[in-house]
């Protein structure tokens, strides 16, 4: 079922929570709403759910105008950050709640309810826990119960409010993969809120980046990462290194650092780059003379994160290298090396610009 959000906005008293927003979601799409806290993403989700009323604008589920439809008649599933399970009911009764709440005419027989609930519990791999109470389950298990409960009525639309926010990293990772899988299998249209960019990029078909009640960009994860439409999106999506200096005849100078940046007009500029767009070498390259010294070495799993310092840098750069590279260059604290930059971004022009400098090796 596709969702069409047109001109939806919301105020709380004098504070504007949402600027008018337009968003079209295709049938079966998994959309992430990403933004810092207070960006209006949860408000938007709750308006789509019908838990809050928009001040103006309309929401359509398929052909159906649901703007004035009450939550309970919208046929949505909603998953809350803190699960919101019914603590006095067993897992089974929690999942069966929506089915039992149906008016008598539509309610399946108790045998049908039983088999439907057991099927859902199998799907979330909690069959053995049917008679337990929520307090006897771990956070990840509780969130799975909450998902099964939301899916029991076969909703057209599944809405999730920071579903994995309260869980630890490993469980989060696991549940993400599992949700992705489930989504592929059942094909519901889904909208979820997160403040974790990695989660949004990994899970979504498209991501809606929001800040201050505004949509900053709507794009696929790949486009979002490679071609952010503004500086906010670029900075919010990952770690950022800054390089500020004067450009003259295609060369940027900053203290004793030089970097050739063909195509950038003369004047003072601030350029941005991601940690993975920095390579290290024991000698300066043709286009770059960026002497740095390693001030911290943090091995994190498959890669090694480095902090680079230099007189010409306001704040240290973050870089990451593979283990092979790490060993070859004999990197340790205090080691002096040269940074080589493969790509650089700028947002101070009328439109964002990405410059390819030197190919990575």
């Amino acid at each position: 079922m596709n969702i069409r959000i047109a001109g939806v906005d919301k105020r709380y008293g004098r504070a504007r929570a949402l600027e008018p927003i337009d968003l079209d979601i295709q049938d079966g799409e998994l959309i992430g709403l990403l933004g810092p806290s207070g960006s209006g993403k949860t408000t938007l989700l709750r308006i789509v759910a019908g838990l809050e009323q928009a001040d103006s604008g309309s929401i359509h589920f398929g052909e159906r105008d649901v703007t004035q439809v009450h939550v309970r008649d919208r046929r949505i599933g909603f998953v809350f950050q803190h699960y919101a399970l019914f603590r006095h009911m067993s897992v089974f009764d929690n999942v069966a709640f929506g089915l039992n709440a149906l008016p008598r005419r539509e309610r399946p027989s108790s045998d049908q309810i039983r088999s439907r609930v057991m099927q859902l519990l199998e799907m979330v791999r909690l069959t053995d826990f049917a008679s337990r109470y929520p307090a006897q389950l771990s956070g990840g298990q509780q969130q799975r119960v909450s998902l099964a409960r939301a899916l029991a009525l076969k909703p057209d639309v599944l809405l999730l409010d920071e579903p994995f926010g309260a869980l630890d990293a490993k469980v989060r990772q696991e549940l993400r993969r599992w949700l992705r899988h489930l989504h592929g299998e059942l094909g519901f249209t889904s909208l979820f809120v997160t403040h974790d960019q990695e989660e949004a990029l990994e899970l979504s078909d498209r991501v809606v980046v929001m800040s201050d009640g505004r949509v900053e960009q709507i794009a696929t994860p790949d486009t979002l990462y490679r071609r952010p439409s503004n500086r906010f999106v670029f900075e919010f999506l990952g770690e950022v290194n800054r390089l500020e200096g004067d450009v003259a005849r295609g060369v940027l100078t900053c203290g004793d650092a030089r970097l050739s940046v063909p195509g950038i007009d003369d004047g003072r500029h601030e350029l941005l780059l991601r940690p993975h767009e920095i390579r290290l070498s024991d000698q300066p390259s043709h286009g770059a003379h960026l002497p740095v010294s390693v001030s911290a070495v943090v091995p994190v799993g498959a890669e090694v994160r480095l902090e680079l310092e230099a007189d010409w840098l306001g704040e240290p750069w973050q870089a990451s290298v593979g283990h092979a590279e790490f060993d070859r260059l004999d990197i340790r604290r205090g080691r002096r090396l040269y940074a080589v930059v493969s790509q650089i971004h700028r947002f101070d022009a009328s439109r964002p610009q990405t410059l390819m400098l030197e190919p990575a090796i």
Binding site: V71, G77, F80, H82, F97, A101, Y133, A135
Partner: protein, 284 residues
């Protein structure tokens, strides 16, 4: 033995003052609660068993049990409904004057019960405002068990409100919302989600209100009128016997009130403990 426990506690505990604070508390409990109770039992020991049974099964006393239980039960049920509603209003809605209403809820605790009794009696006697309105309809409140129940309800309403209110505040609005997103009608959500959750607090509050009503004296005597066999409550029986210097008789009746109240409190506590254990993950 106690010294051993105390010194062991002293070595292990991080919080200081365990021995001292427990000692002071126990001394206080003994002086204020246990000592009067002991003297009550002491009075009873002057009676033989047959005398005791005779005193507590006296027809007039038996009638007073009936009146007291009926009025207290009605008052408690009324408070269960009204107190739940009041707690709900105070927790879930914002309105001007909310703080004031909240404070008013404690008034029955603060007001001398005799003042409440006199006020209610004046208001509901056939010449009072309310009594005057109801009398032509054939409804008598003052000097009937209804009046007694009314006075009891007045003094014990805070028990229900103040036990339900914090539990309701603890229940995240998300849980209500979850029920609604699952398509539950308001009535269904109330019966299946809200009520079971509030049930322990509601039963405890109602139980406390009931127990409090059983022993209520000041607020009730003025409106009850004290007609033997009809509107004579048990605490009034005790008072009457005391005025006649029949200490043993008064103690005998008092022991019944005491035993009933203690039993009820114990039952409420045990039952509530089991329920809460389930919410917190113990096996049912």
């Amino acid at each position: 033995m106690i010294a051993k426990i105390l010194t062991r506690g002293h070595q292990r505990r991080v919080l200081p003052g365990f021995g001292l604070s427990l000692g002071v508390s126990l001394t206080f409990v003994s002086l204020v609660l246990l000592l009067p109770l002991t003297s009550l039992v002491g009075q009873l020991s002057t009676l033989s068993l047959s005398q005791y049974v005779f005193l507590i099964t006296d027809p007039r006393v038996m009638a007073s049990y009936g009146v007291t239980l009926l009025a207290a039960a009605v008052a408690a049920l009324f408070n269960a409904v009204f107190g739940l509603l009041m707690a709900w209003v105070l927790v879930r809605y914002e309105f001007p004057g909310k703080r004031l209403v909240d404070a008013l809820m404690d008034l029955p605790f603060a007001l001398p019960t005799a003042v409440a009794g006199v006020t209610l009696a004046t208001l509901y006697s056939s010449s009072g405002w309310m009594g005057g309105l109801l009398a032509p309809l054939g409804i008598d409140i003052a000097y009937t068990w209804v009046g007694i129940a009314l006075a009891m309800a007045f003094t014990s309403i805070p028990f229900v409100v103040r036990t339900v209110q914090p539990v309701l505040e603890d229940l995240p609005a998300e849980v209500d919302e979850a029920a609604v997103t699952l398509g539950a009608a308001d009535g269904h959500a109330f019966r299946r989600v809200l009520l079971p959750y509030l049930w322990p607090a509601l039963v405890t509050g109602t139980g406390l209100a009931f127990v409090r009503s059983l022993g209520e004296f000041g607020a009730v005597i003025f409106i009850a009128g004290g007609k033997p066999y009809e509107t004579e409550i048990t605490s009034l029986m005790i008072f009457v016997k005391l005025q006649e210097y029949d200490y043993a008789g008064a103690s005998a009746v008092a022991s019944i009130v005491l035993a009933t109240s203690l039993m009820l409190l114990l039952i409420i506590n045990l039952w509530q403990g089991r329920f809460i254990k389930r919410l917190h993950g113990g096996r049912p």
